[in-house]
């Protein structure tokens, strides 16, 4: 039975579904990378995702316009990010606690809106799969990489873009300096507050798009608490990926592929108790995290509110 795992169908299945499952993590984690690089931990991702997922779904359902759905989700995410930025930058609240607060807020509000505006689970026609001409016909590879929907492709494009912005632009330099040594950055005329506002709002937007990628691209339904802890995994992946977009990509793919592997293990009837199977991705992620942690160094000012010394 174990040998069944090595058939092409299974391997293609694992890779293709790993790519899909990783999509929301990529959006959310890359947003979180920007935030943490500038010194702000956002634990409210889950709440931003839920609100983004609902906003995108509701707009797509009522107007039939998917892009409008994404746009509204982005606006909702930006507003959430703005609020988060105000609380963490201006009020200098403890970031972990206020993040949990934003998570609960997003969960509650998305639930309330769902009950008041929809009241029942409905489906929407989401972003269709796009078959990239030529490439999608390549056996195996085509099915895995080139037969996904648009929001999946964009998520993967974000990885090099985020790397470029963080490492090759002035903005990226400012973000990193604010996260490493805000006092020095401040004395050189970089506005710590402005940079952090920018990264937190960007994080909110990307988290909301992560939610939208679920509700109108991958699943095409909305349900209460549908993200189910995914936003917290996204935070973990940032540490896992050592604050690098490529590292986050690797972590997201590893976690997702192990998850799809465990689904196949169950489907193929390999006798491992389901409780053990579903733990696999979490356990392995912790193991890799522990093994890799010696080379990891967090941004020095992470979770520290900035206060200018006069």
């Amino acid at each position: 039975m174990i040998s069944d795992l090595f058939s092409t169908t299974v391997l293609i299945g694992i890779l293709a579904s790993g790519i899909r499952l990783a999509t929301p993590y990529l959006y959310a984690s890359i947003g979180e990378v920007f935030g943490q690089k500038s010194g702000v931990l956002n634990l409210g991702i889950e709440g931003q995702m839920l609100l983004g997922a609902f906003a995108a779904f509701y707009v797509a359902l009522t107007t039939g316009n998917l892009w409008l759905g994404v746009l509204v989700a982005m606006i909702v995410g930006a507003v959430m990010g703005l609020a988060m930025a105000f609380v963490t930058v201006n009020l200098r609240a403890q970031q972990g606690i206020s993040g949990i607060g934003f998570y609960l807020f997003g969960m509650g509000v998305s639930d309330l809106l769902f009950q008041k505006l929809l009241g029942t689970v409905e489906t929407v026609k989401g972003f269709p799969k796009i078959f990239i001409p030529g490439l999608s016909d390549i056996p195996g590879v085509g099915e895995i990489f080139f037969s996904q929907n648009l929001l999946v492709y964009i998520a993967y494009l974000l990885v090099p873009i985020a790397w470029f912005v963080l490492n090759k632009t002035t903005l990226g330099l400012k973000i990193r300096s604010v996260g490493e040594n805000p006092d020095a950055a401040d004395s050189l005329g970089v506005s710590v507050a402005r940079i952090r506002y920018f990264t937190i709002i960007l994080g909110g937007i990307l988290s909301a798009v992560a939610g939208a990628s679920l509700s109108i691209a991958l699943l095409n339904v909305f349900q209460q608490n549908m993200t189910s802890g995914l936003g917290f995994i996204a935070v973990a992946l940032v540490y896992f990926g050592a604050w690098k977009p490529a590292g986050v990509l690797g972590g997201a793919l590893l976690f997702s592929m192990i998850n799809s592997l465990q689904l196949w293990i169950q489907v193929l009837g390999i006798p491992i108790p389901s409780d053990i199977a579903v733990m696999m991705p979490y356990v392995l992620t912790i193991l890799v995290l522990v093994a890799a942690v010696s080379r990891v160094r967090a941004p020095s000012a992470l979770t520290k509110p900035f206060e200018r010394e006069d």
Partner: protein, 352 residues
């Protein structure tokens, strides 16, 4: 750096707990459409209304319009109220979203103090709280579900659903309609109501055609729609041409079944509206059947000590066929014969 390992371990643990317990109800069933109001086939008669209204209080883990576990109870109470002649005869109040068991316990005690005739703790997670509270209020009747355990106390009723029965009928239908001879199941956590349903389903398939391969994947969560959807995709890729599943996260799976044009069998609520072209039939709960029995007992002076079960025979479970799915007359009559067989006892469902 040690701090971060600790922190991330905590975050991961938190995520795991969240994903596992995302759904507030331990047996949080499903989803879609409120069950059609339908006269239960063998419902006991409505108890005669007393001069004072009969007063019921319910504590529920999720929202009354969750289209799932809590709503099935809420709908049942509304139906009883209508049958008994409005709020003047039958009055009910509820506390919803009581996923924190401590809060629920406080609410149960409050309701008991206020002298309600029947206080329902709708969620098996409330059991141990109820066990402590009930002896303090010997004149109040309590009901607890879904379970069979009354803790041997004279003022606790227990109720549950024989979800394996509807599962069996769905299994028979699925086995009849499957041509690939591979059938997939997407389950939440291998326990309680979900396990009963899945085991009943497997028994139904095997009884109809022992050669069919039934593959079960439990995703470890009541709320992870994304993983449920990938589980369905995996089942389909592995050759399944008929799927079923239980709990609220299956909406994700139904969507994938519809995309792949694979049959779906629902449970706990009527899921036809989500994918009219592929949903064949759904098992739907009607708690009013067991509630009416309890009310009769209470009015006759028995406050508890018995357990009740909603099943096909008493109309507490109803198989609703999807009118938009062209089910062959043969298959439909086979399903109906199966239902009759379960009701009259000629079909015995053996669970592992």
């Amino acid at each position: 750096m040690k701090k971060f390992v600790w922190f991330m371990t905590l975050v991961l643990a938190f995520a795991l707990v969240l994903s596992a317990c995302g759904a507030p109800a331990t047996e949080a069933p499903v989803v879609t459409q409120a069950p059609a109001t339908e006269a239960p086939t063998a419902a006991p008669t409505v108890p005669p209304a007393p001069a004072k209204p009969f007063r019921v209080a319910v504590v529920m883990p999720s929202a009354i319009n969750d289209l799932a576990f809590s709503q099935s109870m809420y709908d049942a109470l509304v139906r009883i109220q209508t049958e008994m002649g409005g709020p003047g005869k039958f009055e009910f109040v509820y506390s919803e979203n009581m996923f924190v068991v401590d809060d629920a316990a406080a609410a149960i005690r409050d309701y008991a103090t206020q002298g309600y005739d029947l206080v329902i703790a709708h969620g098996s997670q409330y059991g141990s709280s109820l066990q402590e509270i009930a002896p303090d209020f010997p004149k109040t009747s309590f009901a607890w579900g879904t379970t069979v355990d009354t803790f041997g106390q004279p003022n606790i009723f227990a109720y549950e659903a024989a979800s394996q029965e509807g599962g069996y009928v769905n299994g028979v239908l699925a086995a009849t309609l499957s041509t690939s001879k591979v059938i997939g199941v997407v389950g939440p956590i291998e326990t309680g109501d979900a396990k009963l349903y899945v085991d009943g389903f497997k028994a139904g398939v095997k009884a109809t055609n022992p050669d069919i391969d039934v593959r079960v994947s439990y995703i470890g969560s009541f709320s992870d729609v994304a993983l449920a959807s990938e589980a369905a995709t995996t089942q389909i890729a592995a050759g399944a041409d008929a799927l079923t599943g239980t709990a609220q996260m299956v909406v994700g799976a139904i969507g994938k079944a519809e995309e792949a044009n694979v049959l779906w069998f629902g449970t706990q609520s009527n899921q036809s509206s989500l994918a009219p072209s592929i949903v064949v039939a759904s098992q739907v709960y009607h708690w009013e059947v067991v509630l009416k029995e309890m009310i009769s007992k209470i009015q006759a002076g028995t406050l508890g000590g018995e357990s009740f079960r909603a099943n096909l025979a008493n109309g507490g479970e109803v198989i609703e066929f999807n009118p938009d799915y062209a089910l062959s007359a043969e298959a439909k009559s086979l399903a109906e014969t199966t239902i009759k067989g379960i009701i009259d006892g000629t079909i015995k469902i053996t669970l592992p």
